[in-house]
Symmetry: C2
Subunit: 198 residues, 2 copies
Amino acid sequence: MAELTERGRRTRQRIVEETGRQILAAGIGGTSLDDVRAATLTSKSQLFHYFPGGKSELVRAVAEWEGAELLAAQEPHVHDLSTRSSWEAWRAALVDYYIGQGRWACPIGSLATEAAARDPELAAVVAGAFGAWADLLTAGVRRMQEAGAVRTGADPRRIAAAILSAIQGGLVLSQPLHDPWPLEAALDQALHALDAPA
Amino acid sequence: MAELTERGRRTRQRIVEETGRQILAAGIGGTSLDDVRAATLTSKSQLFHYFPGGKSELVRAVAEWEGAELLAAQEPHVHDLSTRSSWEAWRAALVDYYIGQGRWACPIGSLATEAAARDPELAAVVAGAFGAWADLLTAGVRRMQEAGAVRTGADPRRIAAAILSAIQGGLVLSQPLHDPWPLEAALDQALHALDAPA
C-alpha cells in the first residue's frame, strides 16, 4: 500500500479498532463491513482504499494490532520475568487487561478459535502472535532456570506453552461464569513450575 | 415441546448435528439456518417446528448435545480417575477426541468464546457443560487426594479448573499451529498436580 498521511493512518487505525471491538462482541462471522463503516463514518471506497483485500485483509490487520496491544499490556514486566515477583507483576497486569478492563476474553485466542479452520492466512497471523508471546515467556522461564528456580532438565518452551495455555483456557472457563477464579486457579497452578525444582 | 416420534427425534438430531458441524467450521455468526436446511434437506416450517425459538434455541440445543458428547468421549475413565494410570487413559481418550478425530477445537470452548458476550442463555448452557465436566474431574482429584497423591490442603476444585483450562487453552494454541504439542505440554504440566505432594 502507498504510504499513508497522518490523517489516513488515523482513519485506518479507527477502522481496525472498531472491527476488533465488533469481532470480540459478535465473532468474525457476526461482524459486517457495513456495521464497521457505520460506526467509523467511512465510505465503502475509503474502506477498500485501506483494505483492498476486503474483510479478510481487515481481519488480519485486526489480528496484528491485537497481538501488539496484548504484548504492550504486559510491559515492562514481560521483558524481565527473572524473579518470582516480576512474574507476579506480569500476572497482575495481564489479569487487569482481561478482567479489570472488562474484556473477559483474549482477542487473539478468540480469533484462533474462529479462524484456524477456515482462513489459513489469518491462522498464520494468529500463530505468529502466539509465537511472539511464547518467545517472551520462554526467555523468562529460561532466566528462572538460570537462577535455579526451574529444574535443569525442564524445557522452557513447554513450560511457557503451559503458562500461555493456562491463560487462554482459564479465560474460556471464566467467560461464561463472569468470574475470574478459574483463570486465577489455572495461572497459579501453571506458575508453580517456577517454584524451585523437586 | 410435544413428544416427538422416533422419526421426528432423528430429524431434530440431524439438524442439531449439522448445526454443530457448521458452528465448529464457521462460528455461530457464520452459520445460517438456510445452510443448515440445505444440508439436512428440511423445510423452514420443519426447522421452526423443532426449534420454535429459531437460531438461538437451536444453538442452545447444539451446546447441550456437544456437552453430552464431550463427556461421553471420556468414558469410562472420567468416572474413575482414582489412579495415575486412569488419568493417563482419560488424557489419551481426550486427545484422540480432539486431535485424532480431526476436531482441533473444543466445541464447548468455541461456543464459550463466541457466546458469552452476547447470549446470556447460551452462556448459561455452556457454563453448565463446563460445570458438569469440572465436577467429574474434581471428584477424580479428590480420589487422588484420598490416596495421598495430592497435598491435603489443596483445593480439588481449583486443581480440576486448572486441568480443564490446560485442555481449553492448549487447544487454542494447538489449533493455528495444527500441532498437538502445546496441548500435550499444558496437560502434562497441569497433571503434575497429581504427582505426590511436596
